[in-house]
Symmetry: C2
Subunit: 225 residues, 2 copies
DNA sequence: TCAAAAGTGTTAGATTTACACCCATGA
DNA sequence: TCATGGGTGTAAATCTAACACTTTTGA
């Protein structure tokens, strides 16, 4: 193909996914040991190359789908990582994305087949190449997003207790919250609906289950939290 | 070169610069009419291709330097734009960056040679390809950055009046601010130093000039504004 | 003398934070 | 019966927002 930009050089483009999950009251990400050179054996994000016939966003969605079998996942771009030597093999520029999934929606068999594990974000091992930078930036963006929009529900089952929700916010923000103040703010959010269902797995007394009502939120985005 | 990733396709990588300036109490960006195909004649951001021997960040800095002759400019990545058809010529993925410069530091002769103009952000013409999306995202990020860190000084001369600073914040945020409340907050920021110099260009009475003291800020980042 | 921008404090309202006890249940 | 997590309100402190007049000076 003799195009417009023939004199310029091309690069390989990849996507890398920071997949957040919430389990045991801890914020976790999915990482695995690299099964290919270069960097074989090092802990790494899951990624893939961008094809010629797909947008970069689509490449990220496809990569996530390959790993998890999941679609309609909340995913946002983190940014481009383009140091010359970031890939020890060849020049590869990577676009990082973060995704929020509910751990229980991810088939554990599939997870094992891909050799990836849920690792507590507070106990992350050293990662391949610049993946630590990607994770750091993703956390920062995700935290800010959670502060301004109700995306936390993506990390929880569709029915959840207020204590679960509070633990999630605590894990993301890295600090404990006051139970009464937290519940007070939740009450003001009409898009968090109380159901009549009760969860007895977390306590003897049982706790009411709540759900996120997207249509109420879309009409009246009084975010904050 | 027979490398690790031979089976994957490569793409052209470019950078595009959203260059913000502040003039006549208005937030402006530098755009010009494309002088090449495809898209000749359309209003466009200034950009360039990423070379094989430079990082993406360095490509952005170089591109900005080519256009303005300026170095040590505040620059931040906006993100990757990677639709398949975003470039009518060939597959080009672009990484957008925004920069903050003081309009008066930019040699106007050089500006004219490159055929770019300062355009009020509120009166932007339609732009080439997805450049409007880039500008929108850049504005959003810049606004948020200005809210949390004192980067506004990058858009002003090193000596400025409080009214100039207020007009800058008003232009970025798109809303008027209360003079007394604004000045009250500024007084709390030790890194904004009052000088004994007086500017008489903006009023008959004259207004005190202030300066940003980076070392005070670096020691004690009580940002907010 | 007057138009135009500089400069200056106070108060009401809203928001945020701190804080402690009773309840329901299964083991 | 007791250990465990669920659930609830008030008051102080802080922060935010609204608001109007005097000063200086060049034209």
């Amino acid at each position: 193909m003799t195009g417009f930009y023939g004199e310029h050089s091309k690069v390989f483009l990849s996507v890398d996914c920071i997949i957040f999950g919430f389990e045991e009251n801890k914020l976790k990400i999915l990482i695995g040991k690299r099964q290919m050179d270069p960097g074989r054996g090092e802990w790494s994000l899951y990624g893939g190359f961008v094809r010629g016939d797909e947008s970069v966003d689509d490449a990220a969605l496809r990569t996530l789908y390959e790993l998890t079998g999941m679609r309609n996942v909340y995913m946002r771009q983190v940014g481009a990582f383009g140091s010359i030597d970031r890939d020890p093999g060849e020049r590869v520029v990577s676009i990082a994305y973060y995704a929020l999934i509910n751990v229980k929606d991810y088939d554990d068999r599939l997870r094992q087949e891909h050799g990836v594990e849920w690792v507590d974000i507070k106990e992350m091992p050293p990662l391949y190449s610049d993946h630590k930078d990607m994770v750091d930036k993703a956390r920062k963006l995700m935290k800010e997003k959670l502060r301004t929009e109700p995306v936390g529900f993506r990390l929880l089952p569709s029915l959840f207790t207020l204590t679960q929700l509070q633990r999630l916010y605590e894990a993301v923000n890295g600090e404990e919250l006051d139970k009464r103040n937290f519940r007070k703010r939740i009450k003001e959010m009409d898009y968090i609906e109380k159901t009549e269902l009760i969860d007895k797995t977390g306590s003897k007394r049982g706790a009411f289950l709540y759900r996120f009502n997207r249509s109420v939120y879309d009409e009246d985005p009084n975010f904050k939290l």
